[in-house]
Every structure is written in C-alpha cells, then in structure tokens.
C-alpha cells in the first residue's frame, strides 16, 4: 500500500502541467500512505479501510475511463499502481480472515466492532469522495476541445484537402524556390582559338537533408545540395569541372553528352580526398544531366549525387521564364521503395509555396527524371497543354500534350503558357507519387 501511495505521488509529479490531476493523484497518494500507516500500527479497522480505499480507487479508475469521452491512454504506471492496490486488497482480506479465525487477544479486543467499521468506512468514503470530485474535474478537462471529424480532412488548404505533408522545412539550408530558377554558367574565359571555357568547381560531401518537413535523410551531395548545381553552357563551349571528393566513399561524375572515354566518370574512380578534372566539349545541345557512377549504382544515385546539365543551342532559345524541375524520390527507411517523391527534393513544397508565374508568359521547364526504384515518372500541369522537346535536342517540338511519362534518366524541355490567372496544380499523373509528395501549384498572376 505504501508502494501504491508512492507510485501515485510520483504520478502526480509526472502530471505537473495539469493542476487538477496533480491534486487528485497527490491526494489519493497521501490518503494511501496514511492508511498504510494505520495498517502498520495494526489497528483493526485498518484492513477494512485499506480494502475500501483501494477498491474504490480501482473502481474509480475503470469508471472514469469508461465514461470519459476522451480517455487518456492506459499507461504502464497506472497498471502498476492498480496492481499494487489489488495486492493491498488481497492482503487486507487475508489479514481480516486471519484475525477472525484467531483467538481474540485479551488486550486489543480485536473483533471488528460496528463502530470501528463505521469509523473506517467514513475515512475511506471521505477519501473516495474527494478523489471522485477531483477525477470528475479531470474528466471534464479532457473533453475534446478540437472539433470532431472535420469532413475529408481539413488543414490549411481547405476542408476537402487533407493530402499534404505537414509543416515546413528549414530553407536556410536548401531553398527549393531558389533552386528552381538558378543556373550556374561557371567562370568564363577564352582559350587561344576563341572557344569559351567554363570552369566549375564541384565538391562531394556527406550531409543530412530534409526531404519532407521533419524527415531527415542521410545524403551524399554535390556542393551541399540535392540536386547538385545546374551546369549551363552553350554548344561548343569547353567545360572544365574540378571535382573533389570530400565524402566518405569513392565517387565520380558521369555526364550525359558526347565525350571521350577517359572523361566518362566510370572507371576513373575518385577516392576519398582526391580530385579529378573533367574536361570536354559541351555537345549536343539539349537538356542533359550528370550523376555519380560508382557501384552500387542505385545507392550512389539515390543518395543524392545528381544534377542538371543544360547545353543551349548556339542561337539560344526564345526568351521565357525558365525553371529546372528534377523529379526525384527518397527511400527513407531503406526498404527498396521510395517513401518520399518530389520535384526538387522536398515533398509537397510547391504545394505550400506556389510557383509564381505571369499570365500569358511563355514558361520553359527543364524536366529531368532521376527517380530511383520506379520504372517511370510523369508530369501533368492542369488547365493547359505544353510542347514537349524530348531531350531538347531539336528546336521543333515532338509533342503537344498535357501528360507525359519519362523513364529514369530521360528528360524533356516543356514550353507552356497560362492564359488566365489563378492557382493551377501540377503533379505526376501517377497518383501514388502525387500523394507521396510530387505535387505543386502554379500561381498565375496577372
């Protein structure tokens, strides 16, 4: 019984934020200790009081749990205190039984008299009543404050829109909005033939990235971010990339484009701490990408070592609002399936932070699919159609549609315009990917 009292007092401590519960548990704990004191002194009404108090507290516990609309989850500590109380009851019964079968002691007058029973009963009743009063308050406190069952899953996006990752990421480390329209043209210089040389610096490191609000992923990155920097050159330029491996595993950079064998980034593995300079001519014009090509291949790509490589045609393309969208995914629990799908790494980011575009303006999306584990990915903007330039290697479009699929490693340049202002969704038409984070909004402003 002492133990049960101590447990209750400890429990009171644990519930400190809620004053009512604290009083209830502290009160019942103190009462139990007092009655335990009586039992220690072996007065005769004590076992009865013990039985009644403990029985009452157990009954109260069950009653409040059944009746209260929003009961607290059953905690182990409650089980412990209830079992100790039950034990107390059993021992009290045993004590009463043994005294009644024993010869009455001459001095104590130990048979329980009605008066003693009344005394014990009133003490016990008072403690139960006070406990009951407090627990009634405790139950009232627990009435659900928030509305029950908002239809179809409410949230910041409205009552019928529950499908979204909750919260927001720390954009000081990686800002998907900044990445969207950022191009790295490198350090420009000219060589003796008048050919433009562009120098870039890429460093591979290990870091943790946030792929959904609150969900961290241990990534391998180029220049601190996933995807890596968008390298942009004009066809015919000489591209020089000094690659340093500051990560914990060997890496390379394998480019998609024309280049000679030694610059392929496959057999020339760059060990930890080493460097390698990739040097080739940017060709053909179009939209390409680069990624690590060390085995195991799935792991090195999937952990974040990829980025976009744009080669502009010599005459350039018509002016447009240009954006880079990399369709990627993350397997956070390492079971061979992606738990997070996104465009530009963060699940549902552009859903919470819509991409602002102007009404009537030509938009050019450089769309790359680097999603691991799934055969294909898709892109579908609402309320408009686009011209698709597959791999961007022609100046004439291949397709005029509103939904395309891309295999892993495939990429297309899409050109589209929005005629009217408003919010328009864009997402993978593979609904599973859309629900798992690959969904965004275009906010068209007049």
């Amino acid at each position: 019984m002492v133990l049960a009292g101590i447990v209750h007092l400890i429990h009171a401590f644990a519930h400190r934020p809620d004053p009512v519960l604290v009083w209830f548990f502290a009160g019942s704990g103190i009462v139990q200790l007092l009655v335990a004191g009586f039992v220690w002194r072996q007065t005769d009404e004590a076992p009865w009081a013990a039985m009644i108090v403990n029985g009452g507290l157990i009954g109260l516990y069950f009653a409040t749990r059944i009746v209260s609309a929003n009961p607290e989850p059953v905690e182990a500590i409650a089980i412990v205190s209830k079992s100790l109380e039950a034990l107390g009851i059993a021992l009290a019964i045993g004590a009463v039984r043994s005294t009644s079968s024993r010869e009455p002691l001459a001095d104590a007058g130990s048979t329980v008299s009605r008066r003693q029973l009344l005394k014990a009963g009133s003490v016990a009743a008072a403690s139960i009543a006070s406990g009951g009063m407090f627990s009634r308050f405790a139950v009232a406190q627990q009435e659900p404050q928030h509305g029950r069952g908002t239809t179809h899953g409410g949230g910041e996006l409205g009552p019928h829109f529950g499908n979204a990752a909750v919260g927001s990421i720390d954009t000081s480390i990686f800002d998907p909005m900044k990445y969207l329209r950022e191009f790295d043209y490198g350090d420009v210089s000219k060589d003796v033939d008048g050919r433009t040389i562009r120098d870039y610096r890429i460093i591979a490191t290990d870091t943790e990235i946030e792929v959904a609000p609150g969900v961290m992923f241990p990534a391998w990155v180029y220049n601190g971010k996933v995807p890596g920097p968008t390298i942009r050159a004009t066809e015919g330029d000489r591209v020089r990339i000094k690659f340093t491996n500051a990560g914990s595993h060997p890496h390379t950079i394998h480019f998609h484009g024309f280049h000679r064998a030694g610059m392929d980034g496959v057999f020339e593995v760059v060990e930890k701490g080493d460097s390698f300079t990739y040097d080739f001519i940017a060709e053909p014009f179009g939209l390409h990408h680069y990624h690590c090509h060390v085995t195991p291949l799935k792991r090195h790509i999937h952990k974040g070592l990829y980025g976009v490589f744009i080669v502009d045609p010599p005459g350039g393309r018509p002016p447009a609002d240009e954006m880079v969208m990399v369709m990627n995914g993350f397997d956070t629990n390492l079971d061979g399936e992606n738990e997070v799908y996104a465009v530009n790494t963060v699940a549902h980011y552009y859903l919470h932070n819509p991409v602002i575009v102007k009404q009537g303006q030509l938009m050019r999306i450089y769309l790359v699919n680097i999603t691991e584990f799934d055969l294909l990915n898709s892109f579908h903007p609402h309320a408009t159609f686009f011209h698709e330039y597959r791999t961007g290697t022609k100046l004439e479009p291949d397709n005029f549609t509103d939904t395309i699929i891309l295999g892993q490693g495939e990429r297309s340049i899409l050109e589209l315009t929005y005629k009217d202002p408003g919010d328009y969704m864009f997402h993978a038409h593979v609904s599973e990917f859309a629900e798992l984070g690959w969904m965004g909004l275009f906010r068209v402003e007049p």
């Binding site: 079992s83 499908n163 959904a212 956070t332």
Partner: protein
C-alpha cells in the same frame, strides 16, 4: 553458543534498532544510483561511439475510428525519444495533429488525430514516419466506427455476456441431479473432468496472453507482464486458500467449487475482453452462430463447477453464487474490451486468469489425489482429465470466434 538448552537456537541474534539495517539496505541502491548518475552525465567514457542512429520503436495501441477521423494512441517503447514527422494513410501524406507533442519520450504516449474520410468496412494502412526516416506500420483490418458508450451498447454487451457466460454456466449446473446419482468413483472422474476443462482453458488463456503481449511496445517487456500477472495471481490465490481453513469435507468441496468458479470467471473475463475488443475493431459479427458456439463451449464449464460439489447437498443460494461468479465476469470483460480496450490491460487480465486457473487446477487435483483409490494416476483421475480436455476441444470447434 548456548548448547545447554536443547531445542533453543544455537545463535541468539541480538535485536538491533531498525535504523542501521535500513541504511545498510540502502547502500547498494545509493551506489547504483550514483553510477547511473555518472553515466548519464559523463557518458560511458567513450567506450561506445555515439554515431549510430538511435534504435526506434513505436507501437500503436488503441485505435478509434469514425466516419471522418482516425485517432491513434502511439507508445514509444524504444530506448530513445522518437519524433513523429509525417503520417501516411494508404500511401498518402495526410494532415494530422500529434498531442501533446511530436517528440515522444521513452515509455510515454502521444495521440495522433487524422481527419480522414474512412470507408466503412475497408482496411486502412497507416505508416508513421519519424524524423530519421524510419517508418512504423499499423493496419486497421476493418474500418468500423468505434461504438460510443451509451445505454444501448452497454445493454448489448451485458446481454452478450449473459448469453455466452451466465446462461451456459447455469445450464451446465442443471446436471446436478444426474451427478447425485453417481458412485464415488464416477464423481471423482467428473472432478478430474473439471480439472481437464480447466487445463484446456488455462493453456488457451496463457496462449492468448502471450499473443496479446506481442502487441505491446517492446519496452514494456510483454512476456514479463504475463509472467508477473500469472505468477502474482497464482500466489495470491494460493495464499488466500491457505488462510481459509475448511472444517468439513463438504465445506472443502464448496470452497474448491468457488475457487473453480473464480478461475473460470477470470477466464471468461478474458473471453469477454476478446469478444468485446474484436467487436470494437469490426473483426467479429455478433451473430447467432457465435452465441450458439459459446453456449455449447461454456456449458461444459458449468458442468465442471458442479462436478466438484459431487453428491453433497448445496443450497440454491450457493449455486446461484457459483454461477454468477463464473458467468458474470463475461459481462465486465465485454464492456472492458469494447470501451476501454488497451493491449496492456488485456495482457494483464489474461495473465491473471492464466495464473488463477493454474492454482485452481492444483486445488482440484489435490482433492482427487486425496480421495481416489489410485491417487493421481488412477483411471478416474487420468480418464476424467483426458475427457475434460477432449470435450472442451470438441465444443470449441463450434465457437465461430
């Protein structure tokens, strides 16, 4: 060293005051506390490098389903705090709230409320994603609206308890006139039959307790809960029966009958818990078939109780008490299972039931051993035991649950 007075203790322990002994008892505890303090503050002196991701364990306990809301109680049974970052419902990230906080400390709970349009009768697959990217799955087999506590449901489950608990036991007890016509050897056979019934129930309850304990968070030590409850109940009932010194054989028989009724009552409490919880989760249909099955199965239990009484005259009052003791807990169990279901409570109750039944088996077999001509290995003893087991198994086949 006083050897002069025979029968007296050779070593006299002088009485000391209590204080030094209490202090001595506290010394190892204080030292242990000091070590723990040292380790938590200073770390284990660099023995274990702390680069490994923490082991996480989340268990979903109670689930409440409504037409437009799912509520989960999640317990952290692992060694480190866990932060729930996102929730996936059927492979879709969904809006949700976590009370009181997204980070759950060790052994604490949190309630996850998800406003979601559930389709009645279809399963829901939930995935909790933590801040380290680990996922914890929970499947709601059949989305059914959790019954609200009102008079109708209380009455439904009371009725259920009466149909599968009280009535069958009472029916079993109507075999008393038949038992009274039997010879002493046959009576002992039926007593052993009762023990066989109890053995069947005891093993079944223990198995259910262990199965239920598997649903508990790891830190609670599921099997440990079962062990403590079972052995605890065993010990308490053993102590209680020791204290009750019966004077006549008849009194002893009645006492054992009450013990058997108590054991069966506890088992039925567990049975009621299981049925109530299954109904709550939509995994069971309270059809006539179920009730019939239980009626057949539990009638045997009633027979078991009265077999103990043998040919002694028993008052109707006593018989009613026995029946109530064995059957009524089903009602309490059904209420408990339907309305405040928690795997921890269920495990504890099932463990207690298993332990109580074990003790009662010993009581019954003791009577058989004392009164049978061949003791425990006699034909009536072993035959009755076997018959009890077989009949319980056979009638159990009728139970659709």
């Amino acid at each position: 060293m006083d050897g002069s007075v025979p029968g007296r203790a050779l070593i006299e322990t002088p009485t000391r005051s209590r204080a030094p002994r209490a202090v001595l008892a506290l010394v190892p505890i204080l030292l242990l506390g000091g070590l723990i303090l040292f380790l938590t503050l200073r770390g284990p002196a660099g023995i274990f490098p702390g680069d490994f991701p923490p082991v996480e364990d989340l268990t979903v306990g109670r689930v409440d389903v409504e037409a437009n809301q799912i509520k989960l109680v999640v317990t952290n049974g692992g060694p480190a705090p866990v932060t729930i970052a996102q929730v996936l419902v059927d492979d879709a990230y969904w809006q949700h709230t976590v009370e009181p906080s997204r980070t759950i400390e060790r052994l604490r709970n949190a309630t996850v409320t998800i406003p979601y349009p559930t389709v009645a009768g279809e399963p829901v697959n939930l995935l909790l994603v933590t801040s380290t990217g680990l996922t914890f799955e929970h499947t709601i087999e059949v989305a059914t609206e959790t019954p609200a506590v009102d008079a109708r449901f209380l009455w439904t489950f009371a009725l259920l308890g009466i149909y599968i608990g009280v009535i069958p036991v009472a029916l079993g007890m109507t075999s008393i006139p038949f038992l009274r016509t039997l010879s002493p050897r046959w009576l002992l056979f039926f007593m052993a039959f009762a023990a066989g019934v109890l053995v069947f129930l005891g093993v079944e309850t223990l198995a259910e307790a262990l199965e239920e304990s598997g649903e508990l968070p790891t830190a609670f030590g599921g099997v440990g809960v079962v062990t403590v409850s079972a052995i605890g109940a065993f010990a308490v009932i053993l102590a209680a029966s020791r204290r009750f010194q019966a004077r006549t054989t008849r009194d002893r028989r009645i006492a054992v009958a009450f013990a058997v009724a108590g054991g069966i009552g506890l088992h039925n409490l567990g049975e009621g818990l299981a049925v109530g919880a299954a109904y709550r989760l939509g995994e069971i249909a309270l059809g006539a078939f179920l009730v019939i099955g239980f009626a057949i199965h539990n009638t045997t239990e009633g027979l078991g109780i009265v077999s103990i009484l043998g040919d002694s005259k028993t008052k109707m009052k006593t018989l009613v008490a026995l029946g109530a003791m064995a059957g009524a807990p089903t009602i309490l169990g059904a209420w408990g299972g339907a309305f405040l279901f928690s795997p921890l409570l269920a495990t504890v109750f099932l463990g207690i039931a298993a332990g109580a039944i074990a003790e009662v088996i010993i009581e019954v077999m003791r009577v058989v051993r004392d009164q049978a001509a061949g003791g425990l290995a006699s034909l009536e003893s072993l035959g009755g035991l076997a018959a009890g087991l077989v009949v319980m198994y056979a009638t159990g086949l009728f139970v659709a649950a």
